[in-house]
């Protein structure tokens, strides 16, 4: 038996982080379920399904609590061949980025916190990120207006820096919504009964 070669397994891990999953394999269902948290299904023709491990899919996995070890273990468990060296390095690099930038609640709204103070300075200089940041709040923190929460997360994602959003949500004031009894043309109006 050749070390690192398992022809009975269903998965081929490719250097571009795409995954080919054989449908006609007894481990197909188990493998599919294990891939789902961190890989995106790209196409599913009859015999071989193609998945892609993308930065976004990995960061979503991180947000859901999937670890690097779990991802690699899944690939190793089901892969026919050795995992390409660059794939391991890429996945580790991408998953390690998650959590380096955190969005936290702050008395004045929200605060962006990073591990390295230099990164805040770097983000301030970025034409995409800088305008979305507020005043400094310590060496490794910057205030963020609540309205910039979505645009900031999107902009950081675009430059490959996922945000671990720990700010949570606040309960909003209730808004009363009622239905009119008659239309503007003075006709009777009500919901159709089911």
């Amino acid at each position: 038996m050749v070390a690192g070669y398992h022809p009975e397994r269903p998965l081929i891990v490719q250097a571009d982080r795409s995954l080919l999953l054989e449908v006609d394999n007894s481990d197909f269902a188990a493998c599919r379920d294990r891939l789902a948290p961190f890989a995106e299904l790209r196409k599913s023709p009859e015999h071989i399904h193609t998945y892609a491990v993308t930065p976004l899919s990995l960061w979503n996995a991180c947000a859901a609590g999937v670890s690097y070890a779990r991802v690699i273990d899944t690939l190793q468990t089901f892969s026919k061949y050795e995992i390409p060296a660059n794939v391991r390095a890429d996945i580790r690099d991408l998953m390690e980025r998650y959590g380096r930038i955190r969005l936290l609640p702050s008395p004045s709204g929200l605060a962006l916190e990073v591990d390295e103070p230099a990164l805040v300075e770097q983000l301030r200089r970025s034409p995409q990120i800088g305008p979305l940041l507020g005043a400094e709040d310590g060496a490794a923190r910057a205030l963020v207006a609540p309205g910039q929460r979505g645009p900031l997360k999107q902009a950081l994602l675009k430059i490959g820096l996922p945000v671990d959003d720990l700010a949570g949500y606040v309960q909003g004031a209730p808004l009363e919504v009622g239905l009119r009894g008659c239309t503007a043309g003075a006709k009777e109006f009500s919901l159709r009964p089911y």
Binding site: G4, I12, D16, L20, P45, H47, E82, A85
Partner: protein, 747 residues
């Protein structure tokens, strides 16, 4: 030993006689000589002492072993006591290492030794110091051609009384005197002031200067410029010259083939004055390999893998086999073709396809000899991936010793470990100084192309975060290289390479997925009918209308294409693929083309009937296309014209640009010999009629045009008279640009 301490020199035969049969066999292996159980020592001596054989083995010695030989070459009689050697080395290497290194030299047939304290010895024979590569000037080499009388005079200049009577003994005395630090210093100390200043200046300049520079120094201006032994003779005019004194005492050596151009301090003198032995000038133990640093994120394709390389080579062979490669006139592939392949393979390295091509050519996966120029696909032959990979490893270095050794050392470094490239180069410089010592980097030794190829075969190279290059040999490469040298039964087990998989899967979306270990033949077959879409592990092809059309154009029938896809497919061929093959097959051949050289058009269908039935024109292969049009597909227009004329008809040629017809079709290149033959034939035919021709020719720098009545052709001239005034004209045929026969209604 009788040859110790200069009493008598050691001979190679002495060493061979002392070697056991096992040692003799080991010696034969090291020197590439087949030794029998009872070898003829006389013959073996001749083989071992040949200059070529010695030069080769010296390339395989490490720096310490070369230092031992260099040191021995300065010893009287090329021999010394073992204790002297140990004292000279001075504890810089441990005893076990010393014995192992010297024993290796002995088994290479270069020295003999006995490491006993007190009575031990080490010695070599004369051919070895002579063959030692050197960039310095040695006294023995310089005085090798000098006569005994010159050597006697040098002994006298050095103050050595009663020099020996033989030439060799005189040379030994000179060398031993100047190599002795105490004596040499004394000789230098006694030099007159100007000579001493000049000598010190040469030493300070690194031991070698140009004569022109020396002559600008005080005391250097009067030396003669011619080489030879003349300078040592008493009647030499410049005997009091400071430079001449240095030459006569052999403290400086004149260099130059016919005239002096340089002056150099001989190695023995330099060593004696600095009190340095060859062991001081070189590391005596291998420098350690230093750990290298790789970047956190490795680009795809940097780390070589045998399976990936074999797969990509199979794609290259398939690319060539499918006639996708364009060939230059010299038979090599166009760069644009290789770039197109590189794009398809999706390797980030722009030169990847060039490197693949080089590997494929060396391994003879593609071979020249394609009809019309270029290469044909030869394929990988039989055997598993391990065999194919070994073929690549074996073919890369070719017969180059440096390349072979470099690959050997690369395959010996710790697997999967990043090593500082500079420390690896230093190790190479120690292990094989003659091959790698003075070349700078390994890229210089094997060329940048050769190193790029190695980076695909066995080694990964990256620039680390500290900007220092680091190299690494993957374990799978080392395992494959090692296992391939084992018996077949154990090859697959240790190689880490899966066996070929000869199957693929054809999917309804018209993709064909071949696994990463797909058999090269399978990939080559897919290249015939499909387009490579992805190559990041598994090879994903797609059957497209264009790929079908290309396959049909290469002569495959729809049925053959279907059979080809079906033969290796693990699943039935999907209906979508079958339909595409059928559709393309139906369209194929609906438009038909053929070669037709000449057409004939008549103004009357009856006339064409007559031509087709004429027995005089039976040689022409006619094909009627319309009532008044037929084609002749076995003859060109000029030949058909002549045939019709011979049969008594008066045909004219129609020019392709739609101008009025002429007997020979105007617009033909004047340089064409056939054109002149037709012109002459036309003129001779028209001379017997009353027809005129309109002719245009070049007269000097002017262009002339006239209507003339041809009379005859003499030599290269057409004689005619003008139609308007009947003046005679002579027109050189070479100058004729155009002409046409004027039919009656044009008058």
């Amino acid at each position: 030993m009788k040859f110790l301490r200069g009493e008598s020199r050691m001979q190679l035969i002495d060493l061979l006689k002392r070697l056991s049969p096992e040692d003799l066999a080991a010696l034969g292996r090291r020197r590439g000589i087949e030794t029998t159980k009872v070898p003829d020592l006389g013959v073996l001596t001749g083989q071992l002492a040949s200059r070529q054989s010695l030069a080769t083995i010296l390339c395989d010695l490490d720096a310490f072993q070369l230092a031992v030989l260099r040191w021995l070459s300065t010893q009287p009689g090329y021999s010394a006591s073992w204790d002297t050697l140990v004292d000279t080395i001075g504890g810089r290497v441990d005893g076990e290492y010393l014995i192992a290194e010297i024993q290796e030299l002995r088994l290479c047939g270069l020295i003999d030794f006995d490491p006993s304290t007190g009575q031990g010895f080490i010695a070599t024979y004369a051919a070895v110091p002579t063959a030692l590569p050197s960039r310095d000037i040695r006294l023995r080499d310089h005085f090798a051609q000098h006569d005994s009388d010159s050597l006697r005079r040098i002994c006298t200049y050095l103050g050595l009384k009663r020099p020996p009577t033989t030439r060799d003994a005189r040379l030994d005395l000179i060398v031993n005197t100047l190599a002795d630090p105490g004596l040499c210093r004394a000789i230098v100390h006694q030099l007159p002031e100007q000579s001493r200043a000049l000598f010190d200046w040469v030493v300070a300049e690194g031991g070698r200067v140009g004569l022109d520079e020396a002559q600008k120094r005080p005391g250097g201006g009067r030396a003669a410029r011619f080489a030879g032994t003349y300078v040592y003779h008493g009647r030499y005019d410049y005997s009091e010259d400071p430079l001449t004194l240095l030459l006569r005492k052999a403290l400086l050596i004149p260099l130059g083939q016919y005239y002096f151009t340089d002056l150099a301090v001989p190695r023995e003198v330099a060593a004696a004055l600095t009190d340095q032995s060859p062991f001081d000038a070189t590391p005596l133990v291998p420098p350690p390999l230093q750990a290298g640093r790789a970047p956190d994120s490795l680009p795809a394709g940097v780390v070589p893998h045998p399976l990936s390389l074999l797969r990509d080579l199979a794609h290259l062979v398939g690319f060539v086999g499918a006639e996708r490669c364009e060939w230059r006139q010299d038979g090599q592939p166009y760069q644009r073709s290789l770039q197109a392949l590189g794009k398809v393979l999706k390797n980030p390295d722009r030169n990847y396809a060039d490197v693949l091509w080089e590997i494929a050519v060396k391994a003879r996966l593609v071979r020249p000899g394609r009809p019309g120029g270029g290469y044909t696909a030869a394929g990988f032959g039989k055997g598993q991936p391990i065999t194919a990979f070994q073929g690549l490893l074996d073919s890369w270095p070719g017969g180059f010793l440096a390349s072979q050794r470099l690959m050997g050392y690369l395959l010996a470094i710790p697997p999967d470990t990043w090593i500082d490239k500079e420390s690896f180069q230093q190790l190479l410089g120690f292990m094989r100084p003659e091959l790698f010592g003075s070349r700078g980097s390994v890229s210089t030794v094997v060329g940048s192309g050769g190193w790029a190829t190695l980076c695909r075969l066995v080694v990964a190279e990256v620039v680390g975060p500290d900007e220092a290059p680091a190299i690494m040999v993957p374990g799978v490469v080392q395992a494959a290289a090692t296992a391939s040298r084992q018996p077949n039964a154990r090859q697959e087990e240790g190689a880490g390479l899966p066996p070929w998989d000869e199957t693929w899967v054809v999917q309804p979306d018209r993709t064909v997925v071949a696994p990463p270990n797909a058999h090269p033949q399978a990939l080559q077959e897919l290249w015939q009918v499909a387009e490579l879409e992805s190559n990041q592990g598994a090879s994903i092809f797609r059957v497209t209308p264009a790929s079908m059309a290309a396959a049909l154009n290469r002569g495959l029938s729809p049925e053959q294409i279907k059979r080809l896809l079906k033969r290796r497919s693990k699943a039935p061929i999907p209906a979508t693929v079958e339909r595409l093959i059928a559709d393309q097959g139906e369209h194929y051949g609906r438009i038909r083309l053929g070669a037709a050289q000449t057409y004939v058009q008549t103004d009357d269908p009856a006339l064409l009937d007559e031509l087709l039935e004429s027995r005089k024109l039976a040689e022409l292969r006619w094909q009627r296309l319309a009532p008044t049009i037929a084609v002749i597909d076995n003859s060109g227009a000029p030949a058909a014209l002549q045939a019709l004329r011979r049969a008594g008809y008066l045909p004219v040629l129609e020019p392709s640009d739609g101008r009025s017809p002429s007997p020979n079709g105007s617009g033909t290149s004047p340089s064409n010999k056939e054109y002149y033959r037709e012109l002459i034939a036309t003129v001779q035919a028209i001379a017997e009629t009353a027809l005129a021709i309109e002719i245009q020719w070049r007269a000097g720098s002017r262009l002339r045009k006239a209507r003339v009545l041809p009379t005859e052709v003499i030599g290269r001239k057409l004689l005619a008279c003008r139609e308007d005034n009947f003046d005679d004209v002579e027109i050189p045929l070479d100058a004729v640009i155009d002409y046409r026969v004027l039919v009656d209604d044009e008058d």
